[in-house]
């Protein structure tokens, strides 16, 4: 009987694990290895000859360093904006709205996730265009550039922040809030000293998505960023325009390393159990 159970487990486990290990981990391994390959300077073909040149170039060349710092800055700024936008909304959804209203809001907040990513970025291209709706209504538009990129990315990833923060607020018992105000705490004190520590894992979980998704994005930047270059554009450029696959692989180690470090840091907050 135990043998049969084991065989059943193996039957269930082997195909998905084989797929993920071969197709996914295998590919990541190839990516890491190919960063040490070189290209034939004449034909541009990949040569399977070991060199650390690409890695050194990716981490030391000024263009790449500036772009990396800009990309990290954008990812952090987008994450911060999403937190600021999401927290009061999530508080309203979880603690003020009626159950019926709460359900409607959950649907309202998640439905935009299913609208096409490209369409949403394109919508901001319309909104921010020099003669577009924003310029017409407010008389001002930041135009296409770094600001537009940050706004668009924050717009694209905001629901990913709202949902875990809402779930975290939802888990805070009402009695704790009542007790805090009965003991004379102001709303701000309750928020800061009672709720903030409890919702922090939710914020951390949301930030994994906003940070990771911003870090690898190059499509939204191309659509609303004007001449702005982020890491994604540079990697794409190396692979497609410059036809230098090993350097592209070396460069993509930067976002990979950044997100792994971020995941490790977030694991200590208990955020991964909230994903």
């Amino acid at each position: 009987m135990r043998l049969r159970r084991r065989m059943a487990l193996a039957f269930l486990l082997v195909p998905p694990m084989a797929w993920l290990v071969l197709a996914y981990l295998g590919s990541l391994a190839v990516l890491l290895v190919s960063a040490f390959w070189s290209t034939n300077s004449f034909t541009g073909a990949v040569v399977h000859k070991f060199t650390t040149h690409n890695i050194v170039q990716a981490f030391t060349e000024t263009v790449f360093r500036v772009t990396t710092l800009r990309t990290l800055g954008v990812a952090l700024l987008v994450t911060a904006i999403c937190i600021v936008l999401a927290v009061p909304l999530a508080l309203y959804m979880a603690k003020v709205a009626s159950p019926r209203m709460r359900l409607l809001l959950v649907i309202a907040v998640t439905t935009p996730l299913w609208a096409s990513y490209l369409v949403k970025a394109y919508a901001w291209r319309m909104l921010l265009s020099p003669e577009g709706p924003l310029a017409w209504a407010g008389g001002y538009t930041p135009g296409y550039g770094l600001t537009a990129t940050v706004i668009t990315l924050a717009y694209l990833w905001l629901p990913y922040m709202i949902i875990p923060v809402f779930a975290a607020f939802d888990r805070v018992p009402d009695s704790l809030i009542d007790a805090s105000s009965d003991l004379g705490a102001s709303d701000l004190s309750t928020l800061r000293m009672v709720m903030a520590p409890l919702i922090f894992p939710g914020i951390a979980a949301g930030s994994i998505f906003t940070f990771s998704l911003s870090l690898g994005d190059y499509i939204a930047v191309t659509i609303v960023g004007g001449k702005t270059q982020l890491l994604g554009n540079v990697i794409y450029g190396q692979l497609v325009t410059a036809n230098n696959q090993p350097l592209a692989a070396a460069l993509s180690i930067i976002p990979l390393a950044a997100i792994i470090l971020y995941l490790l840091a977030m694991r200590r907050t208990g955020a991964l159990e909230n994903v």
């Binding site: 003020v96 998704l213 692989a249």
Partner: protein, 266 residues
Amino acid sequence: MLSGGARRAVRAWTVLILLFLYVPLALVLVNAFNSSRTFAFPPSGFTTQWWVVAWHSEGMWKSLANSVTVGLGATAIALVLGTMAAFAVQRYRFFGREVVSFLVVLPITLPGIVTGIALNATFTSALGVTLGLATVIVGHATFCVVIVFNNTQARLRRLGTSLEDASADLGASPWQTFRYVTFPMMRGALVAGAILAFALSFDEIVVTTFTAGPTVQTLPIWIFGNLFRPNQAPVINVVAAALTLVAIIPVWLAQRFGGDPATTRV
């Protein structure tokens, strides 16, 4: 209990965020009926002629067909693999269970460009495969598994094992238990997972760019390729509006079949 002032403040904030979320989408719908080819606001006139033009766009239909093929292929693979992994994790105790969950989630946690370049390097430099629809399906299936996995796993956890135990006690074989007890109860979760996985594949562009090669276009690739051509703008506006309207379908269907679109995409 929060004070009245605080409640009013967060309510006002909620209204503002909802406007922030929906005004751009509303604008996409309005612009599809704009008679002008530019983004100049307010629109110069109302017309439905671009819908006719878009309807006759050959590239749009061709890339749409590719997107559907890829979506169905990736969903089929994800459905099988995701359900198997969910059963293993929920119904068995074994060493390395967390590793399995982690491995399934990893493809959507890492940036798409990393996944894309990794698959591209594997297909072109390591395996020497020609990029095409098949390679896109492999790429999409890899990150669609997690959607099915999450839906099925959540349902299996909620169902518990008491009914399955009862079935086994009454003498049913494991296959009969699965066929007549477990499967009927989790059908809804499978349908929801499949719909959501298809929707995710349908919208994907980054991994697609790196696994499709120059000859195959999915709908997002086609849209992106035409986004910066001024004379194609009206057609793109119409396709964008149509996609925005169609986006309601997966949410509605998945909710009907008892899935949880809120938590599966996050």
